[in-house]
Amino acid sequence: MPDAPSASAPLLDVRGLGFARDDLPLFGPLDFSVEAGEALLVQGGNGAGKTTLLRVLAGLLDGGRGEVRLRGVPAAAAARAGQVAYLGHLPGLKADLGAVENLEYLCGLLGRREGVEIDRALAIVGLAGYEDAPARNLSAGQRRRLALARLWLSPARLWLLDEPYANLDLPGIELVNRMVRAHLDDGGGALVTTHGAYAAPPVRTRLLQLERAA
């Protein structure tokens, strides 16, 4: 049974993944895998294709070459929806909705992890007391924390974090590291992009260095 999800197969297995924009190769072909309990740190300068790589992996961007397997099962772009949680540059929050309302909507849309409550998630990211504050009144860092709460509530086992440290203060960076560690201890996996200036999460980490294509 090669196509049944297996516990021993890596969470994410990528073979020969490449992406070209207007026939200009942006990156790849890349081969890497992420095991459960492991984080892959994607490093590279501006324009090296880190965001594109994550969007291709999330299935938001079609047209990549190569094969992506989730838990050993080949997963086309559309089939990866629902199995990955993606934190991008845009937090995906509605400015006129309160923090809890935003999370309730996103949980209804994306599903919610068993046994995690919205209030608890808000407390973890340090937004207790901001339950009813409209997202437009939150600072950029607080909005990012709210997006992290959404991530914490997500049932997906694989996290794709695009520059998760952006806009965060030092306790916020510590928070991201703590969340990633807890997620990995729970048997999840994570891909984290960074342009290299920030401390990496203190977990079992592999490094993928993206170079700008010549």
Partner: protein, 223 residues
């Protein structure tokens, strides 16, 4: 799962509508403005008003819908919500359908309810009112569904503006022709059933196909 996602989207849209109720009133006020101006411009001649009534009322509703069309997906594209739609474990056409249904319920439905009043203003003979209501009830969902495709096609552009109208109008013309035509036929004592059935057929076609097309366009716009 699909129902939970639909419920979340409906609750969100209704909450947002309530938070911005001033904006939400704009299409209805616009339609009212068009009808009132027509009534004043055509003068106090009931016969002329009654003749023009079906076309004017249909145009008012159509233009009001067009006014609200650009906001259908643009807000969700700009704050990254569409990314999360694509990542949701439910089919994207379903989310598009729910969003479009909400759009119809918040822009066209209030106008539909106000139509008897507007029709009175235009001196529409009372026995034509049921035909007008039926044609609007069948026609406005088609307008919303076709509009969703256009809105999805232009969502990647920073300012679509007049382009939305230019793309939507040719698609809207048949709906307008049959919609206003059915009332005009009833006014001349002809049977409006044919035109209404054609509108119904259009709705039956657009209901499954338009969300698929709009979802494909959204997918392209996000890549």
């Amino acid at each position: 799962m699909m129902l939970a996602a639909a419920r979340a989207l409906v609750v969100r849209d209704l909450t947002l509508l309530w938070r911005r109720r001033g904006d939400a009133l704009q299409p209805a006020l616009f339609a009212l403005l068009v009808v009132v101006l027509f009534a004043l411009a055509l003068g106090a001649e009931p016969a002329a008003l009654a003749r023009a009534a079906p076309a004017v009322l249909w145009l008012a509703v159509l233009l009001a819908g067009l006014l609200a069309l650009d906001t259908l997906f643009r807000g969700d594209a700009e704050d990254g919500s569409l990314d999360q739609w694509l990542l949701a474990p439910v089919p994207l056409p379903w989310l598009v359908l729910v969003r479009t249904a909400m759009h119809w319920a918040t822009t066209a439905l209030p106008l539909l309810l106000a139509t008897p009043l507007l029709a009175e203003m235009m001196q529409l003979p009372p026995r034509q009112l049921p035909v007008l209501m039926a044609s609007l009830a069948l026609g406005t969902p088609v307008l919303s569904l076709l509009g969703a495709v256009v809105a999805a096609l232009t969502v990647g552009m920073r300012r679509a503006g007049i382009l939305v109208a230019l793309l939507a109008l040719p698609l809207y013309v048949p709906v307008l022709v049959f919609g206003a035509g059915s009332v005009a036929a009833a006014a001349q004592g002809l049977d409006p059933t044919g035109a209404l059935l054609l509108l119904g057929a259009g709705l039956a076609l657009a209901l499954p196909l338009a969300p698929l097309a709009a979802a494909a366009a959204i997918r392209i716009s996000q890549s």
